[in-house]
Subunit: 363 residues, 2 copies
Amino acid sequence: MPYPEEAEGFQIDSAETWTDFHKRHFKLKPFDDYDVDVKIIACGVCGSDVHTISGGWGAQHFPLAVGHEILGIAVRVGPKVTLIKEGQRVGVGAQSFSCGECKQCKNENETYCPVIMIDTYGSQWPEKYGGVVSQGGYSSHVRTNERWVFPIPEGLDTNLAAPMLCAGLTAYSPLVRNGAGPGKKVGIIGLGGIGHFGILFAKALGAEVWAISRSRAKEEDARKLGADGFIATDETDWEKAHTFSFDLIVNCANSSKGFDLAKYLSLMDVHAPFVSVGLPEEAGQEIKAQNLLANGVLIGASHLGSRREMLEMLQLAADKGIKSWVEEIQIGEEGLKEAVTRLKKNDIKYRFTLTGYDKVFGA
Amino acid sequence: MPYPEEAEGFQIDSAETWTDFHKRHFKLKPFDDYDVDVKIIACGVCGSDVHTISGGWGAQHFPLAVGHEILGIAVRVGPKVTLIKEGQRVGVGAQSFSCGECKQCKNENETYCPVIMIDTYGSQWPEKYGGVVSQGGYSSHVRTNERWVFPIPEGLDTNLAAPMLCAGLTAYSPLVRNGAGPGKKVGIIGLGGIGHFGILFAKALGAEVWAISRSRAKEEDARKLGADGFIATDETDWEKAHTFSFDLIVNCANSSKGFDLAKYLSLMDVHAPFVSVGLPEEAGQEIKAQNLLANGVLIGASHLGSRREMLEMLQLAADKGIKSWVEEIQIGEEGLKEAVTRLKKNDIKYRFTLTGYDKVFGA
């Protein structure tokens, strides 16, 4: 069946066949009074997509179309929708629903809602919402509650805006929640999709920004993105010149292999937060209170960001002309296989955006 | 030699003989223009003393007199001392020196000074300060830089004030640095020496206070101390009714055996800090960013507290009539053996204060 009953997209059937995309129709959730249908025109390829389809984060609801950095056009809005207008260019990120009623939801912490959390792909909707498993943006359409649909400001290029919907917000929220700005020394660990936004946004917010990477291979890129300084952790005593000096570090590393956490923590000023946004597949790291004592560092994690933060980030990007580093790739079996394979190897500077949706799904 | 060249105290010679105290004379550091000599009249027995002498925290400078919850009289003040007057009743806590010049020292974070940190016992002074190993309060006198000597307000009983110098401040600082006060729900894990001050001070600061303990054995005590609620972690689903509800938890547990960190973290409101002040001897705990993601909790640790916080805490205790729960014990070979042996077994509600110094060291 065609839209509006169904969408068409590229699904993976198992973690063992995580590069074999199959073009299929699948059911959308029942249309709700607060829903917005988005006809997709571009979608970023997020590290989460690869972790999910390749089994790194454990069992999933297959078959599954991933993708949660969605740009498109609002082609249908429910009768009670007030936040989005039909025809508007909009984005959808990694989360598509929360209860809207709890303390967290009312406190702009909807990405921490303990009541209900529906991811844009791979979450089963409760029966009262139709019971289907949500399917992501490697597809023709998504149907999303208006609170999770974001108008895209004019002046932001569609293909550059798409990766901001997850990677951009993931970097932006911990920066603004932890005071990144003038007079603050901010470190960004890991120069990948999220990390490159970390540098762009920390700089745009006025902070002194240091890129922290395993080697100097990406130093030139980091400086082009706006980094004021660069630390390579394969150099002896790399941490020594920077102990007690960072006001905030956002850890965007996608792997914890060989990660000497104690050295990173030694970089922090007293009680300064060390916030992780990457979700490595490896085992965790041991911490003892003793390791946190020298500077009273706070170790935390951050999950996406609020609607307000999303809108502010997009506006900041538009106002300051912030340019994501994007390689476009044609959506389809081949393009997707290439994108996820290369992303798995970190062979991308620094984000793929899937384009050419009209060629595959019609105009 | 007698004071003022030397002090007399009870020393331990090795971790293997950690309950055998030997009364001896030992050299004091050379008297400095900013030093204050304190004739000791009481001293609390801190968990740190036991960890140190019994080898739980690794190698130490033996022979060693421990004790860092010191109350006494300032019997001599250096010519440049301005903070303390001769004859004043004063306290000395767990730290006795920091550089005084660095960013941390100038920012009321002297207990995080990265330049020099001299503990009240067991630290070797640099050669320019005489090179001796500092000896603690199980002795007749201590010689301490004035910045680490604290006037005791009238109205605070000596024996009840002594344990505040380390245990009290250790509980107080993370409370005030993390906003404990009216409208905040604060948890105190571990009802021992530090934890009982956690309840007393959190209550005095106006917070809603919950004691969190392994069983209900100490519930009555906790409520007498001022706890509004009590959670026993040996009960099934103990965490369920409290998820996402705590604004701050101060973890005063002295052991991490059987400690299911993930459940404790689930108690925290979004981005609320979980601050450890106990320093268990066991191995650390594994954390993954994934475990911190549901609520974006911040895990930290805290080390003592600033001079200002010490003075505020003592004044608060005097103003509000806060009473430490203290069992007095006569200083001497026997009393010390009993104190450290019982403390090792947590057989004390909730602090020993050593008294009767005049009987042992003269009036």
